[in-house]
Amino acid sequence: MIDRKHLGRRYGPFRYVVGLEDIRDFATTISGGVPGRVFAGAPADPPHPWHVDEAAARVSPHGGIIAPPTYCVRFAMRPFALACSDPALGIDLVRLLHGEQAFEYGDVVRPGDVVETTGEIVDLREKAGMDFLTVRSTTTNQRGKVVVVGTWKAVVRP
């Protein structure tokens, strides 16, 4: 069982510079394509043009390319991943499952954004021999606006 003294343990801040090709790779990969976009044809079901096509995105309500909502894993998952592999908590990753996930979104994410993420262990409990770990992440952008608040829940099987 994970020691409850780790409740409130914090990770970060972590800075991340959002890249245009990162966004294109992510959008292409979740549409059935291949990151890097070489040695592969276009995905059968193309990504939304506002993630990949600058001309189409320029005339959109956002005025330029935006990241897919769950692209935020690139920067917002780090506190959760660090908590799960934190030697102080001593979790065996083979027994760990991602149990639940929630995101509340603020500002859209664009190429060139500089975002900062912090995270905190907000819940630790044991039930039926299993450990439940919850990390809350908060990411803000260079304008000080919240980009996303993530609630990451892991289950550790006995």
Partner: protein, 137 residues
């Protein structure tokens, strides 16, 4: 471009995605999540799975994509929530079926089921909301 008036409770939408052999590795490269359970079939077997399993966050990305296509604007997604009910393995096909359950207060809310080719839920309690008040700055 859809506006709020184009959404009705009861609307439906769907999306199908396949976890092909290299999908967990491709998603690892795109997301940064190289947890060995998603890459190494031996580690997957030690965890009691048939082999490497897909990142839950890839299944959630597919869910968000299904909803974004219905909302007609990925930038309007204000909220996403899921429970990962069962791992997705290489060779699995996931069908997402969404239904609009509410249009109120400038928000469109959908509930989505995600089932594999055996009809088993891979996600539970999957919801998304799009905000139509204001738009992005």
């Amino acid at each position: 471009m859809k506006s709020l008036a184009d959404f009705r409770a009861g609307d439906t939408f769907e999306l199908v995605r396949e976890c092909d052999r290299y999908r967990p590795t491709y998603y690892a490269a795109a997301s940064g999540d190289f947890n060995p359970i998603h890459i190494d079939p031996e580690v997957g077997r030690r965890a009691g799975q048939p082999g490497a399993i897909l990142q839950g966050m890839c299944t959630m990305a597919w869910l968000a994509d299904a909803c974004a296509r219905y909302f007609d604007d990925p930038g309007r997604i204000a909220k996403l929530e899921v429970r990962f009910a069962r791992p997705v393995s290489v060779g699995d096909t996931v069908r997402f079926e969404g239904r609009c359950v509410a249009v109120e207060g400038g928000r469109v809310r959908v509930e989505v089921t995600a089932r594999n080719q055996r009809g088993e839920d891979v996600l539970k309690n999957a919801i998304a909301e799009a905000a139509f008040d204001g738009g992005s700055p």
